[in-house]
């Protein structure tokens, strides 16, 4: 009996004073340096609602890229939003041709493992023809070398036939 009664116990250890330079007269916390560490597991799954922009994802499954146009001020948002944040008018759905221009990109040789993607991973921001603001997504099929990727190059929306874990992954960008 004793510490072994604690199912989640990882360790008990003596911590060092992290600021000894502040304590020339001795560690004021010396009676509090014994530390216990336990394991605490949490695991959740959410039933997530994609809200009023769900139609965007439904249309991706139909291989269409739709976004929203504001009937009030005429702005076409690259990423759809049900309420135009420029003039607070309720927007209308609009299909775009899916062609555009590369505005910015990054080439990741490190990607957190929770993202199931191949490396190097190219994240890009694209100005789609017919939209006033940008859209962020992966750039694929850019050729043999990431050196070929240039700001200003023409790109297009492409769709996959593979199974995906999130509806946004039904699409990506490719050089046009």
């Amino acid at each position: 009996m004793g510490l072994e009664q604690i199912n989640t116990l990882m360790e008990v250890f003596t911590a060092e004073d992290p600021m000894p330079f502040e304590h020339p007269e001795g560690d004021p916390w010396k009676d509090f340096r014994e530390v216990m560490r336990i394991e605490w597991k949490m695991d959740f799954t959410y039933k997530h609602v994609l809200g009023k922009y769900s139609k965007f994802f439904i249309e991706l499954a139909n291989k269409k890229f739709v976004t929203t146009e504001c009937p009030g001020c005429g702005k076409v948002w690259g990423i759809p939003r049900p309420l135009c944040s420029d003039c607070l008018t309720i927007t209308k759905w609009k299909e775009l041709p899916g062609t555009g221009t590369l505005i910015g990109y990054s080439v990741s040789h490190f990607v957190p493992a929770f993202m199931k993607v191949e490396k190097p991973y190219v994240l890009s921001v694209v100005k789609l023809d017919g939209a006033d603001t940008l859209f962020t997504h992966q750039l694929r099929n850019y050729g043999d070398s990431t050196d070929d990727i240039k700001v200003g190059m023409p790109v297009k929306v492409a769709f996959t036939d593979e199974k995906v874990d999130h509806p946004l992954l039904l699409m990506h960008f490719e050089p046009a």
């Binding site: 505005i103 990054s106 990607v111 940008l134 962020t136 700001v151």
Partner: protein, 407 residues
């Protein structure tokens, strides 16, 4: 802003830092907050019993797996039943908390406020999980799902800056060299290092154009500042009159769309921090700053990545758009230069325990204006004014605050 009562002024009485480090296994967030508070009370010569209000500054509920942690920090230091409020704006949380102290004291809601900020930056979970928690600070329906994460976002901003202005990787590498070097004279810093531009360039490529040494680090730690009116300080603070008097003279806040993609294109597009431009304008106007490069003796800026520091110079008006790289190379922002930035080491050298970061910037500026910094990082006082800039997301929340020495 005309309604602000000019007779009622807000002073910075004292500050404290609990060491920034990779993993503080000697305690948890509560313990670090206590340490920072004790130091700030001693530095200001105040008693907690006299302080009327507190503000809590921390960002993530996930890392500490504790909702309304502010209640715990507040009761740990004997502040109950006095009022407390939590401020949150991602990486800008600490800067917003200082602004909150200004608003509460200026309005007369209280005459004194203690601001404590800290973060447990998740070394307790695997780094992959920590990255996931941080990614949740971007749009979870539109950005996280396309493997968007912070290094990749900032790298996109920087490639666009490089394309537009010709900014070079070697130029932003100098920021990392400077900030790691400044941290060598800050014993509470997480990552002091004597490195060269070549070391930065040769470090592991994480997300082009950013290499490992261009990044700030996840740190544990806490920071605290005590603010009050002059009348309150005269009555309650032993430091009043014995230490140089420092006043909070300007505060500004700006924002931008959560998703970079939604920002007005092409200006600011994905290149500039519009929230910093407007926030700085407000703060400068309040403090009477006309030419920031001359009107400040030091400035702590939010160097989440080395290139971010360069873009920030431009958006805070230290130089014209596109000029920052060349000026950084010339040493304009080094200790001894025109305007030393991140004398503490910044996020890259001092560390980035999110809720503590902006508050820690305030402690650094206070130390500089009182000429209490380590002699090797102490700046020369001319304007007797120091600034700080803190932001969350990719510039979604920006807070700019200004301290001035009055004697």
């Amino acid at each position: 802003m005309e309604i602000l009562n000019k007779e009622r002024r807000v002073f910075v009485l004292g500050g404290g830092i609990s060491k920034f480090a990779a993993e503080r296994v000697d305690g948890n967030m509560r313990d670090w907050m206590n340490e920072a508070v004790l130091e700030a009370l001693e530095d200001s010569g105040t008693q907690i019993a006299d302080i009327e209000h507190s503000t809590t500054s921390y960002f993530s509920d996930h890392f500490d797996k504790q909702l309304k942690a502010g209640a715990i920090f507040h009761d740990n230091i004997g502040m109950c039943p006095k009022p407390n409020v939590r401020v949150e704006g991602g990486g800008g949380t600490g800067g917003l908390a200082i602004r909150n102290a200004y608003a509460y004291i200026k309005s007369g809601l209280c005459d004194s406020m203690i601001v404590f900020g800290g973060e447990n930056m998740g070394r307790q979970v695997p780094s992959d999980v920590a990255q996931q928690f941080i990614a949740l600070a971007s749009d979870t329906d539109w950005e996280v799902q396309v493997a968007g994460f912070y290094i990749a976002y900032y790298a996109m901003m920087m490639t666009a800056h490089m394309d537009k202005y010709g900014t070079k990787e070697e130029q932003f590498a100098t920021v990392s060299v400077k900030n790691h070097r400044n941290a060598m004279y800050n014993p509470k810093a997480h990552y002091p290092m004597d490195i060269t531009v070549e070391d930065v360039m040769k470090s592991k490529m994480l997300s082009y154009p950013y290499k490992l040494l261009d990044n700030c680090l996840l740190s544990d730690g806490a920071a605290c500042i005590v603010f009050s009116t002059a009348e309150w300080a005269e009555k309650n603070a032993k430091s009043w009159g014995s230490k140089p008097t420092v006043e909070l003279t300007g505060t500004g806040c700006g924002t931008d769309f959560m998703r970079m993609a939604d920002r007005p294109f092409p200006d600011p597009g994905i290149i500039h921090f519009r929230g910093k431009q407007s926030g700085a304008q407000q703060a400068y106007e309040m403090a009477g700053v006309k030419n920031p490069r001359e009107d400040f003796d030091c400035f702590e800026v939010h160097d989440a990545y080395s290139g971010v520091e360069l873009v920030t110079y431009e958006d805070l008006g230290f130089c014209k758009p596109g000029e920052s790289g060349k000026l950084a190379e010339k040493g304009v922002f080094d200790l001894g230069g025109d305007l030393p930035t991140n004398t503490s080491g910044g996020l890259i050298g001092f560390g980035h325990p999110v809720g503590a970061t902006g508050v820690g910037q305030g402690v650094e500026v206070l130390r500089q204006l009182r000429q209490e910094a380590h002699p090797k990082r102490q700046v020369e006082l001319n304007a007797k004014r120091g600034g700080m800039d803190s932001h969350g997301g990719t510039g979604t929340f920006c807070a700019i605050n200004i301290f001035e020495r009055r004697d």
